[in-house]
Symmetry: C3
Subunit: 431 residues, 3 copies
C-alpha cells in the first residue's frame, strides 16, 4: 500500500467480500426458514432444493448471467475477460463478481418457498437455471448493469433490490404457484382455508435471524464502496436503518395479530421482520431511523393482510414468500418514490411495472413449457406420502415421526416402499 | 479518502458496524439456547419473546434509551440531533448507535431465559420496554455515558459489560424470578428438585456457539476503535482472550461435572463456556491468554456450583441465566480489580453494588406493579398445557410430539381446544 | 495511524481476526453436521465432544502446539515470549495466534465424526489432546512453520490446508476407525451394508452451510495479509473460487446420485459441497473460477464413490468425514501439482505421503495405546442403548423420541435406568 488510492481499493474490495459472505449466509437462512415452515414429510426436499439452487445459481450466473447483466452489449460467455477488466476500477473485479453472484441466489431462494411441498425437483432446477442465467440478469442489466430499454425506466431507483431481487423472486414464484395450483389439502371444497402448520418453528426462527443478520451485508454491501468518510457514513445509515425497519415490521406484526386474532402469531412476527427488511431494501440510505422504522412497520402491516389475501385467492404459498418479497418489494420501491425527494414516484411505478411484467410473463412461459413437456407437479400419491420418502429416499427426521408419517400408506403395488425408506443413503448405495 | 484521519474514521466506523452485526447475531444465540433448554410445549413462546424483545429493545433504545445513556444531561427524545452531532468524532454517529443498540438487546435477552415457561407475554414485553428504555440506559450512563452519581462509582472499570450488560440482565431476571415463583413441578413438596430436561439440545448447543462467535464482536467492538496499531493490537488481545476464557470455562465445567456427578453434563459445559465469556467481558484487554483462561475456568467452576445453589434457594431459572450472567458478571468485574493493577478492587465492588441495588430494586418495583395490576404469571392450567397451545396458538413441533404433549388434557369446558391448535396461523386468519 | 505501514498493519491484523472468527464458527458447523447425521440416541455425545474438543484444542495449542509449530527450534512452552515477539512483524502476534488456533480445532473436529456413535468420551479427549498439542503442530511446522525434515518436502504447496489440516484430520480419524471397528449393526453377517439414517437432516444442512460460510475465512484468511492491492485481489480470487468449488461439488453429487441411484441424495449433496471446499483448499488462489468449479466437481465425484468404497472395506464412518476430508484433501493437494505450473506434482505427492505416514502412524500408536490401557469403545450394551443415556445422562431430544428410543431396554440389573434419565441435569445435581 503506497497511496490513499490503494487504501480505498482495499477498503472497497474487502467490504464487498465481507458483505458477499453475509449474503451467501442468507442461503442458509432461506433453507432453515423454509424447512421450518413445511411439513416434516417434505423437509428433505426443501433442504435439497435450497442447497442445490444456490450452487446452480452461482454456476449459471458465472457462465452466463454476470456477463449478460454487466457486460457491454450483453456479450454472451465473454465473462472471463470481462471480470478481469473489471479489476481496473476501484475494487477487485472478482470481489464484485462474488458480491453479485450471491444476490442472484437470493432471488432464486424466494421461489423455492412458494412452490414447496408439490413441485417436482428437476423442473424446479431447470426453472432456477433459466431464472439465474437469463431472467434475473436481463432485468438487472436495465438498472444496475447499464441503462436499458431505450431509457424506459431511467430514474428508477432501487438501492439493494426490493424490486430487482425480491419482487423478481416473487413474480417468478407467483407464476409457478399459479401453474402448480394449491396443495391438495389446503383449500377445502366448501371454501375454507385449512392451515397447514410448519414442522419446526425454532428452525423457522433461526432462518429469520440468519436472514436479518445477512441483510446487513445485502444492504450494507450495496453501497459498493467503503473507502471514503461518505461511504462509511452511508453504510452506517444503511445498517442502522435496515435493523430498525426489521424491528418495525416485527413489532407491528406482533401488535396487529394480537388485535386481529387475540394471539401473537410467531410466524407472522417472523414474516413481519422479513417484510420490514424487504421494504427498506430499495432505499436504506436516505431515511432517518424513525422513517426507516415506519417503512418497516408498514411492511409488517402489509404482510399480515397479504397472507390471508393470497389464501382468499387460493394462491397457495406455504411460507408466505409472496407476501414478504413480492408485496413488500413493491411497497419498498414505492416508498422511495414517496419519501425520497430525489426520486420520482412515477419512475418507481414504471420500474415496478416493467420489471414485473417482464419477469412474470417470461416465468409463466418457462413454467408453462415445463408443465407441458415434463410436468411440474408431483403425483397425488407422492404429495400425500410426502416427496421425501419417494422422490428423495430420505426422511428428514426419521426418528421423530416414526419413520413413516401419520397417514402414510405404502404406494400401492410397491412392496419395496419400506425398504426404500430405511437408509440415510439410498439402498442402491449399500450394494 | 485523503488523509490518515479519514482512514482512521473508516476503520473505526466499519469495526463498530461489523462488531454490531455480530452482537445482533447473539440475539439468535439466546433464542436458540433458550428454545433448546425449555420444554417443547413452551418453545413457541420463548421464540416469540426472543425476536419480539430484540425488536422492542432496539426501538425503545432508539426513541428514549440512547439519548438517556449518552446524551448530555439526559435530554429526553432529542436523539436525532444527538446522533448527528456524534458523527463529528472519530467515527460515524450511526455506527456508534448501532453498536450500542445491539447491546441493550443482549441485556434484555438474558431476562427471557430465567422467566421462561411461566411468564405472561405482554407483561414481559412491558418489562422489556422499561428495562431497555430506562433501567439499562440510566445505569449505563453512569459509566459508559459520562460520569454519574456525584462520582460515586468513579474508577469503576467494565470493558464490555460484565456488570453493565450481563449482571444488569441478571438482576432484572432475578427480580422477575422471585416475584414469579418457580414452575409448578420444579420443586416437590418434600424438598426435592425435579430436573426438567430441555427439549432440543442441538439447538442449545447451536445457541452457545452463536453466542461464542458473536462475543468476538461484543468484546472486540468494545475497543470502539480500530484505526491505530495500538487499537489493532488491543482487539487482537481481546479476541484471543475471549476465546481462551470460553475454552477455560467449558473445560472446567467438563472436568468438574465428571468429578462431582461421574458424568460430563452437556448443559453444564455449554453454560461453562458462556460463564467464561461473561467473566472475561469486564476486562478482556489486559490479561495474558493464560490468565484469561484461568478467569474463564473460575467462571466454569462458579456456574457448576451456582446452578444447584439457586435450586437450593428454590429460585427457578430454566436456562441457568442467573448462574451465567449474574454470578459471572460479578466475578468478571471483581477479577479486573484483582488482576489488573490499574484498577481498584474497591471501585469494582462499589460499581457492582451500586448498579446491582439500582437495577434489582427498580426491576422489583416494575415486576411488582405489573404483578399487582395485570398479573405476570400464566394460569395453572396454561402452565400445565404449555403456553404455546393457548397463549400463542402454535405448536413449535406439531409433528414430533403428537400435536398435544404427553400429559396434556383439553382445557375444561373448551371443546374448541383441538381446533384452535391446528393451524400455523391462527384459525381466525383462515376465514 | 501515521503511515501506510500502519494502515497495512491494521488491515493485515483485522483480516486475520475476522477470518479467525469465521473459522471458529466452523466448529458450530461440524457440531451441527455431525449431530444431524448420527442417531438421536448418540446426539448428546457428539455435541459434547464437539464443544469440548474445540475448547481443549485451543488450550492445548496455546500451551504447547503453537510454539511447536511456529517457534524456532520448537522450544517447548516458551510461547508467551514467542507470541509477543511475533507482534513486531506485519500484524499483531495475537491475531496470528488466534487465526492459527482455530485451524487446529478444525482438524480435531474431523475426527469426532468418523469415530461417532461408539467411541468412549475420555479416550477421545486424550487423543484430541495429543493431536492438537503434538501431531498437528509437528507436521504443520514442516510446511507452514518453517522448513523441516532436512528439506524432504521442500516445494510442497498447501495454501490453506487440504493436506495440513483436512487430510491430517482424516488420517487421524482413519486410524481411530480401524482400531474401533464398525458400529455393531452397520455391516451384517452376510456382507450387506445396513444404512443408518441420521436423525436430523435440517441440522446437517445447517452445518454444511455454516462450514461453507466459515470456509471463506479459512481460505480467505490464509492469504495472511490484506494490506496491499495484490492481497485484496488474491483474497477476492480465493473467496470467489472457494464458493464456486463448493458449487461444483454439490452439483456434481446431485447429478451423479440421480444417475447412479435414480434419486438425488441430500447427504451426498451436502458432502459434495464439503468435498469441493476441501479440494480447493490447497490452492484457491491460482485457478480461474472455471477451473475451481472443475476441481470442486471432481471432489463431488470422488465423495460419491468414496463413501460406498469405505463401506466395502467395512470402515465405518457415520458422517462420511474420510471421504470428504481425507480423500479430497489428497485430491486437492494433487490438483495444485497438476494445474498450477509453479508447483511440482512430485513435491505434492511427497508432501501427501510424508504427512500421511507420520500422522497415520502416530495416530495408530496413540489410539492403540489408549485401546490397550483403558479401551476406546463403549460396551455393547451402551452402544445398543445409545451413549447419551448412560454415559452422558441426557437425552438430546427427550420429548421427540419418547425419552427412551425405540428398541431401548433397561440395562440388565439396573432398576435406576429410568431415574437416571429424567434430568436435564444429572440426578446427583438435584440433591
Amino acid at each position: 500500500m503506497e497511496s490513499f488510492a490503494d487504501a480505498k481499493y482495499i477498503f472497497d474490495t474487502i467490504w464487498l467480500l465481507i458483505s458477499g459472505c453475509l449474503v451467501m449466509w442468507m442461503a442458509a437462512g432461506f433453507a432453515m426458514l423454509e424447512a421450518g415452515l413445511v411439513r416434516s414429510k417434505n423437509t428433505t426436499a426443501i433442504l435439497t432444493k435450497n442447497i442445490a439452487l444456490y450452487a446452480l445459481a452461482c454456476l449459471a450466473y458465472y457462465v452466463i448471467g454476470y456477463d449478460l447483466m454487466y457486460g457491454e452489449g450483453n456479450s454472451f460467455l465473454g465473462m472471463g475477460a470481462f471480470i478481469s477488466s473489471a479489476s481496473d476500477g476501484d475494487h477487485s473485479g472478482l470481489s464484485d463478481f462474488f458480491f453479485q453472484v450471491v444476490f442472484v441466489a437470493t432471488a432464486a431462494s424466494i421461489v423455492s418457498g412458494t412452490v414447496a411441498e408439490r413441485v417436482k425437483f428437476w423442473p424446479f432446477m431447470v426453472f432456477t437455471l433459466v431464472l439465474t442465467a437469463f431472467i434475473y440478469p436481463i432485468q438487472g442489466h436495465w438498472t444496475w448493469g447499464g441503462s436499458a430499454l431505450g431509457g424506459l425506466i431511467d430514474g428508477f431507483s432501487d438501492f439493494a433490490g426490493s424490486t430487482i431481487v425480491h419482487s423478481v423472486g416473487g413474480w417468478a414464484a407467483l407464476a409457478g404457484a399459479l401453474l402448480l395450483g394449491a396443495r391438495k389439502d389446503k383449500y377445502t371444497a366448501d371454501g375454507k382455508v385449512n392451515p397447514i402448520p410448519g414442522a419446526n418453528l425454532p428452525l423457522a426462527t433461526l432462518g429469520t435471524f440468519i436472514l436479518w443478520f445477512g441483510w446487513f451485508g445485502f444492504n450494507g454491501g450495496s453501497q459498493l464502496a467503503l473507502g471514503s468518510k461518505d461511504d462509511a457514513n452511508a453504510i452506517s445509515a444503511v445498517i442502522a436503518n435496515t435493523n430498525l425497519a426489521a424491528c418495525g415490521g416485527a413489532i407491528m406484526a406482533m401488535i396487529l395479530t394480537q388485535i386481529l386474532y387475540k394471539k401473537v402469531d410467531l410466524t407472522m412476527v417472523l414474516n413481519g421482520a422479513l417484510a420490514g427488511l424487504v421494504a427498506i431494501t430499495a432505499g436504506p440510505d436516505y431515511p432517518s431511523m424513525g422513517l426507516a422504522a415506519v417503512i418497516g412497520a408498514i411492511g409488517g402491516i402489509l404482510v399480515v393482510f397479504a397472507i390471508p389475501f393470497f389464501d382468499k385467492l387460493k394462491i397457495d404459498d406455504p411460507v408466505g414468500a409472496l407476501s414478504v418479497h413480492l408485496v413488500n418489494g413493491i411497497w419498498g420501491t414505492l416508498a422511495v418514490g414517496i419519501f425520497n425527494p430525489d426520486v420520482s414516484l412515477f419512475a418507481q411505478v414504471k420500474g415496478i411495472v416493467v420489471v414485473g411484467i417482464f419477469v412474470f410473463a417470461v416465468s409463466l412461459v418457462v413454467w408453462g413449457v415445463l408443465k407441458a413437456i415434463v410436468g411440474i407437479r408431483v403425483s397425488e400419491e407422492l404429495e400425500y406420502e410426502g416427496v421425501d420418502a419417494f422422490e428423495f429416499g430420505l426422511h428428514a427426521y426419521p426418528e421423530f415421526t416414526g419413520g413413516f408419517h401419520s397417514g402414510t400408506k405404502p404406494i400401492s403395488g410397491s412392496s419395496s416402499g419400506s425398504k426404500e425408506m430405511t437408509g440415510q443413503l439410498n439402498p442402491e448405495m449399500a450394494k
